[in-house]
Symmetry: none
Subunit: 235 residues, 4 copies
Amino acid sequence: MKSIKRIHKSTDADPTREKLLVAAWRIFADRGYRAATIRQISVAAGANVAAVNYHFGDKLGLYTEVVRQSMQTAEIEAVQSALDLSAPPEEILRAVIRTRVRNICRKDRPDWHFQILAHELAQPTPALRQLIEKVGRPLANRLLELIGKMIGLPANHEKTRLCAVSIMGQVVVYTFADPLLKGAWPELKLTPDQVERIADHIADFSLSYIQGFRAKTSARSIQRTRPSVKPRASK
Amino acid sequence: MKSIKRIHKSTDADPTREKLLVAAWRIFADRGYRAATIRQISVAAGANVAAVNYHFGDKLGLYTEVVRQSMQTAEIEAVQSALDLSAPPEEILRAVIRTRVRNICRKDRPDWHFQILAHELAQPTPALRQLIEKVGRPLANRLLELIGKMIGLPANHEKTRLCAVSIMGQVVVYTFADPLLKGAWPELKLTPDQVERIADHIADFSLSYIQGFRAKTSARSIQRTRPSVKPRASK
Amino acid sequence: MKSIKRIHKSTDADPTREKLLVAAWRIFADRGYRAATIRQISVAAGANVAAVNYHFGDKLGLYTEVVRQSMQTAEIEAVQSALDLSAPPEEILRAVIRTRVRNICRKDRPDWHFQILAHELAQPTPALRQLIEKVGRPLANRLLELIGKMIGLPANHEKTRLCAVSIMGQVVVYTFADPLLKGAWPELKLTPDQVERIADHIADFSLSYIQGFRAKTSARSIQRTRPSVKPRASK
Amino acid sequence: MKSIKRIHKSTDADPTREKLLVAAWRIFADRGYRAATIRQISVAAGANVAAVNYHFGDKLGLYTEVVRQSMQTAEIEAVQSALDLSAPPEEILRAVIRTRVRNICRKDRPDWHFQILAHELAQPTPALRQLIEKVGRPLANRLLELIGKMIGLPANHEKTRLCAVSIMGQVVVYTFADPLLKGAWPELKLTPDQVERIADHIADFSLSYIQGFRAKTSARSIQRTRPSVKPRASK
DNA sequence: AATGAATGAGCCTTCATTCAT
DNA sequence: GATGAATGAAGGCTCATTCAT
């Protein structure tokens, strides 16, 4: 990425810059970094082709800014805040899943955040690293702690991680494999009702194992002092 | 895609064509259709740029052939044949999951099949449609029947589909979100041992809910005639 | 032809666009649409290859613009205005022929208009249709009316059309068959003097028949009511 | 043109070579030298791409042979033989025009000879020179002699040449400007009947001037000894 | 004698970037 | 501050030609 000569103020009084960001967000989410062209973005934003280079240095600069802003947005915050609730862990997990799944079918800005993530994972750019470290890791850590609490194992235990991935996989597959699901499951319409049922199912599906696992470890923990001892101790 | 004028003999004595296919498979899986260039592929195959045009008509023709062959390969067959086993459904499901997960860390041709699928889902090409209809739908149908048998619901029941997606999501996330997982989970090395543990976990995780669900529906089905009433009590 | 995204100001202060048009006009007239390359044109205009794409969308866009401008130029107007003269029809016909033939040996822009037409007729492009409808048909109609008046038959009468083609053929053969004429007629130098003699000859040659035809039809029209009966006695 | 390594016998017992020539003749006449590809020709002839190079050295060698054979064919001979008739010059001229015009609408091999000539004139190749010298000049000379006899002037007199070009122009315009004529003259169907009327018209149109011219020169030749003195003596 | 396979040159087009105003 | 104009690099594709068999 080329270094930007000047830092422009990102105040609200700079409509061109903002319009570029919104248009870029949509188009990058739709087509990914490479397939999107700055001409498409400029036209969609009603700006000149050179405006992108002027405001953001180059294409990668614009993209990086889009990714940065995308990760700061409310729905991510919503997920994070859901993780902070002082409710029972099961309810927190349910809330987290529901919040995330609901975003899949938002009408105004359909899942742009995760679409960008999906494109990044398929075709990484330099933005992926910061995306992982700034967003992926913190979110993962909170989820791991939550699950660890539920199954009575440390956050960095392999079983904890496996459970976290199992939950995450069930959620993201609806974003990543959308065309595949629509092709093999014609009734999948992602209406608000159906989305609620999906969220409930994922939570039920996951809690079934987690609660069963806790039961087993709890039973063993009667004899032992450290409940973190897991059934498969190897590693 | 330009139609190829003639059918070329695909004997083993056609090294250039084969080398092109192997190189294209690897590069397409690595970078996706658009980002891959026929020059890169030609150089990797030790052939001329025009060789692609000669053997496959154009870039899309080469890609289509790669996708077609990719979907015919042994591991897909392995998954399908696993679905045909006359073993108990639980064992079949375990075998299917294990077969698929093992392919993630194959040394010779690392998960190219699913990497191509991931690229297709992120940036669809005309090959996606046939990929869905030729591979996605048949596999999905077998999986749905298997799960339907286990939970006592029709294959096209929404709950059956939700379970299938939950299982599939847990599996494919290891391919689709690989950089993200590696970033948030440093210990994830995908050694053969670990891959086995992953497969076991996904099977345990999924069977926990499925077996519990069958127990409930079985109990209810004594009283009720229509098992399509969703037994989920919560919400 | 790719549609050009924006309308560029065609002011005189746009030298590159103008230089491209002039160079393209010459090269297209010289070699035809297919044989001319945008690299040759760009080099001749002192511009970059991509300038063609920027100003005209693509090669066909540039060509279409060349054809459009070519047909609007003065000499075509001259022919048309000659047809509007309120002089005796014979004089108008003479003027039309002379105007057209003179353009064959113009020093500044040698017969590019008709050379492009010749290439279009040999290898049609999408521009041919509009060339026929915008220029060919209107000019033909005026010529037909003029001849019809002279021979006392309707403009759309077959004999009127035959006469028009006979005149037109005598004129255009000097452009279309130029190499052939030069080869079989070494004294053909197309000096201004000789061009004048050519024009006079074509007019004399044509008026001989036309005036004789009018005499015959006039004589017969006293007796006959339907002048559409061809008065040609031979055969 | 690349020199052919060996001279192949052009006997009838070489069907591939013959089929190539026929296919090439049609396609070259249809699209011209540059636009025609040896692949199209090979496919149309049911032969291999390399067969062209094998039999004719290269593309230009095939084309040259096509042009050479085309010029030797019967209809050209027909025109030439018509010029040899010992009939009155007017009848000979009529026969020549009729023979040529009739070829325009031949059903089996529509005017390929003149279509190739038209392409050559629009985009000359090295074959043009020999085409002019082997065919153009001899035919022109015979026509000039014929006309010279009719108007009482030497064959190389400018007026003789002008008359010859006027006649030739009327004929070839039907081949060269075919799309233009069809566009501006919808009733032009080139049925056999209409073709006969066209031929008669061209003959009438031309003889009107020629016979009138002879009358004038004959009148003067009573006083003068050298009938080559023309009305407009300048030059 | 004939051909399937392969090649290098050249073409049109796209795109991010830069420059002058 | 902002933009219209222009550019160089790179990509896919076509085609005549050549090579090995």
